[in-house]
Symmetry: C2
Subunit: 240 residues, 2 copies
DNA sequence: ACGCGATTGTGATCCCCGTCACAGGGGGCG
DNA sequence: CGCCCCCTGTGACGGGGATCACAATCGCGT
């Protein structure tokens, strides 16, 4: 089956290839079947808004395919990107569990396939099976862990250079790429968005990247970054 | 019964006065009884270290009495205070659920009575009762919510003045104190620690407080702050 | 009451980086 | 193909606040 946005739809969670390496999807088969009963699978184009900060929680969104940008923003329009979420991740979990408003705004940054579950259905689903409930608790712990790291890097590292270096290293470690002598990072965000991830201005990102290139630490190959001197980058990331 | 540090010990969770208004403690009686089986009640003096960032999770700590300072720190010794935790709060929850290391360091800032539960016992306890497990998920959502706010204020509000104003307002709203015309806040932290809470330097905090006093917005009465112009403070907190 | 360490108050200096302003560049679309 | 819009690159400038260096106080223990 082909979706409106030219993607192949994954019909069943039981047969999903992601099951093995993703946390939430990896439930016992009976639970997965119950999950399939209450899920709505939808395809979204790039730029679709899944939910908005401070909205009442409608339910959870499980990413099957594609990536989603999570951001928080201030009344004055200034926004900060918290995370780029990938397949297997669950969005709106904490809001749906606690009933408090969504913490972040979720916007797809490429075509996505997403499973939606209404809040009520989801809560019933949880309360029906301790294993599932515990998995969700684990998942929430995971999220908590991630956002704690965010706080660490926002609060403790001063220079923008440091935060940028940290971000690049994090990205390069995603695909085991950092094991190679010259890890590559495919840049999927604009300088503006990178700036929003590390809490600085677009110009600063541009300048910092230029600096790194000048010092032979980085190199651009089209929209791909080549990290030529990982050690130097690490040093930048660690020193305060 | 009197503890070594001059505190009266609360023997039983079932009879605990906090049960009504705290989330975690407010479990159905049978669950509470099971909880009592596995908990170890201990009294700590001021300055006791409950656990340290990056340590393997030993278990959870429920605060019955006293307050605990939670902080994260960088290798270079720079530290940031994430939260001052109060009675009824559960510490080390996410680490114990997920098995990942503790996110923060927890140090008592006054004499405390704390219930400790070993990780294994706690996990068994959770898996034994969906209601409990769900409560814990709610609790984790709550924590996630808090730390998201932290990110918001760290990442989006730039001036230190703004963050300090936000912090003071938050403190003053703790005891319904903010309803009074001139709310009072008992300062329990040094300027250094306040600085660590908002990610700035001690000198800046001192200067900002002096400024607020000069502008008649604040007033000190011993170690108590009197907020004389709440509106002005709110304006400082909101403008970016 | 005295003394000493911890905390607070304040000036001087410096530099990072946010902001404004504008000049290429590149790619999608008619 | 050329136009236009969004992205990138770069200079100039200014300000907030980190940092250093002391001085003044506080507060606690003996």
């Amino acid at each position: 089956m082909i979706s409106p946005y030219g993607m192949e739809i994954v019909e069943s969670c039981v047969n999903c290839k992601l099951r093995a390496d993703r946390i939430f999807c990896d439930l016992p088969v009976p639970a997965l079947q119950a999950f399939e009963e209450i899920k709505y699978t939808t395809a979204y184009p790039e730029g679709a808004v899944l939910f908005v900060e401070r909205q009442e929680p409608r339910g959870i969104f499980v990413i099957c395919k594609g990536t989603v940008k999570l951001s928080v923003s201030a009344p004055n329009g200034k926004t900060m990107i918290v995370k780029i979420a990938e397949p297997g991740e669950v969005l709106g979990l904490s809001a749906s569990v606690s009933g408090k408003p969504y913490e972040v705004t979720a916007v797809t940054i490429d075509p996505c396939q997403i499973n939606f579950v209404k809040r009520d259905d989801f809560v019933r689903f949880l309360k029906n099976d301790v294993e599932v409930c515990f998995k969700v608790a684990e998942q929430l712990s995971e999220k908590y862990h991630m956002v704690c790291n965010e706080v660490r890097s926002l609060g403790l590292s001063h220079s923008a250079a440091e935060k940028l270096a940290k971000l690049l290293l994090e990205w390069s470690s995603k695909n085991g790429e950092s094991l190679k002598p010259e890890p590559r990072v495919k840049l999927r965000l604009t300088h503006e968005e990178i700036a929003q991830m590390i809490g600085t201005s677009r110009e600063t990102v541009t300048r910092l990247l230029a600096d790194l290139k000048k010092h032979q630490i980085l190199n651009t190959r089209g929209s791909t970054l080549v990290i030529r001197n990982q050690a130097a980058l690490r040093q930048l990331a660690d020193r305060n």
